[in-house]
């Protein structure tokens, strides 16, 4: 009797399973996204303080959450690779990195665009913004390190080590907001104080974005598995020729 992870560990099984799952997740993401956008633009009021710009929140916050969640996923996958040598762990980590970088970038961008009307500037150097920027750098470092190494299996293990070293950034983003004097208002526990009329669209959008991410992640993993198959076949073809040549030289 195989456990679920063991069955998933087989890339062929994964390909079958993901092929069946992918359409459903994508469809769910599209539906929820449509509903969320409807709520965000038509079924929710403007904030009494922030005015209409509060609507940026419905994409900013999901992106910001995803930026952290994806990193956690990468760290988890890295752990799986290094400790359990799970065959899909590296595929997952590699596929997630550019997606995470993209969502972090979007969180930064939408945050800055919200900052201009709210704080009068695109950027301030406060703890939360800075730590998200560092998270973005970590993503860049992961991508750059992987692309700088020729040997793929070495590259995946080394990036995994870096990902685990960098995971300390997550609690920093979450908790330490009062490091040094800042223009930013002190952080409040938004989810409990927010008006229900805004909580629903935010929740729907957050779930929609998460589903969207998982759909993209599955697709990227499938691509990566195919890429590895292609590469293995290619080297095999060359190696076959080389082996004959070595015999000839003897």
């Amino acid at each position: 009797m195989q456990t679920l992870t063991q069955r998933l560990a087989n890339p062929t099984r994964f390909m079958e399973l993901s092929a069946r799952l992918l359409p459903w997740i994508s469809a769910g993401a599209v539906v929820l996204l449509a509903y969320g956008l409807y709520l965000a633009f038509f079924a929710s009021p403007a904030d009494y303080q922030q005015g209409e710009t509060v609507r940026i929140m419905y994409i900013h916050v999901p992106c910001a959450w995803l930026s952290m969640m994806v990193y956690a996923l990468i760290a988890l996958s890295s752990f799986g690779l290094l400790v359990f040598r799970h065959p899909l762990a590296d595929v997952s980590a590699k596929a997630a990195a550019p997606l995470g970088a993209a969502f972090t970038f979007l969180a930064l961008l939408t945050g800055s665009l919200w900052g201009k009307p709210m704080w009068g500037t695109y950027w301030v150097w406060d703890a939360r913004l800075t730590s998200v920027l560092i998270l973005f750098f970590l993503y860049l470092g992961l991508i750059a390190l992987r692309s700088a190494l020729e040997d793929e299996s070495a590259a995946s293990k080394l990036t995994a080590i870096l990902a685990l070293v960098g995971v300390t950034i997550l609690p920093i983003i979450k908790f330490s907001v009062d490091w040094w004097n800042t223009l930013h208002q002190p952080s409040t526990d938004f989810t409990s104080t927010v008006d229900p009329s805004m909580r629903l669209p935010l929740l729907v959008m957050a779930i929609a974005f998460t589903l969207l991410f998982f759909a993209m992640h599955l697709k990227a993993m499938r691509n990566e598995i195919l890429r590895r198959r292609v590469k293995a076949l290619r080297t095999q073809a060359v190696a076959g020729r080389d082996r004959l040549a070595a015999h000839g030289a003897e």
Partner: protein
């Protein structure tokens, strides 16, 4: 233990002979610190306000430039292969090398920092704090840097990549290092920064060699 000291001693000797490490690090520190006023304008008030920041950034850069090849050179000439067959676990090898880096770079830079403070019109009262914080903070610089150096060992021309990977990791050290000096605020704020700095250094002294050794093991394959 004998092996540990032998390695530490060799690395210190090499650093001194090959790069004239100490002199060069100090020279670099001096040049960067004196370039800053050129870049930022000669306003003395401004300078003294940001002096701590400049000193810390220059220090990080000096460390980065000297970290670059600490593993790569050993790998290229085959030394690393032999070190790995020695009686010392690879974790202690990386610890010895990081420690050697701290001794040849961290300590001289920490001692030099207040001297350069003069150039930046740093508040006199901040000097002892500056030395103390840099001494306590620089181990983190060397040990975190060693992780980056180990990760990028086989990427020829890894300098930039190393910086890209390591600088984000330096951010907490930088922030608390500066806040300790420039706050000057209350003694409690100071003590807090100082303790956090020490904690960061301690954690990296333990974790840095582990991560670096893990990276080296991958490279040795």
């Amino acid at each position: 233990m004998k092996s540990f000291w032998a390695l530490l001693h060799r690395d210190v000797t090499l650093a001194i002979r090959e790069g004239g490490a100490i002199g060069t690090a100090l020279g670099f520190f001096l040049v960067v610190v004196s370039l800053m006023p050129l870049g930022l304008g000669p306003d003395l008030n401004l300078l003294s306000r940001i002096a701590a920041g400049i000193l810390w950034i220059a220090l990080l850069l000096a460390a980065l430039l000297s970290l670059n090849r600490i593993f790569e050179a050993d790998h290229e000439d085959g030394t690393l292969d032999v070190l790995a067959t020695g009686p010392l676990p690879l974790e202690l090898v990386t610890a010895a090398k990081s420690l050697a880096h701290w001794v040849t770079t961290g300590i001289p830079l920490a001692i030099m920092a207040p001297v350069l403070g003069i150039l930046l019109n740093l508040d006199l009262a901040a000097y002892p704090i500056l030395v103390a914080t840099t001494l306590v903070g620089t181990p983190a610089v060397s040990f975190l840097g060693a992780i980056g150096a180990a990760l990028t060992m086989k990427t020829r021309r890894g300098g930039l990549l190393l910086a890209l990977i390591v600088l984000p990791l330096y951010v907490p050290t930088l922030i608390f290092g500066i806040s300790a000096v420039s706050a000057g605020a209350g003694p409690t704020g100071l003590a807090a920064s100082f303790l956090i700095l020490a904690a960061i250094s301690l954690v990296t002294i333990v974790l840095g060699p582990l991560a670096a050794a893990a990276a080296l093991k991958v490279h040795l394959q």
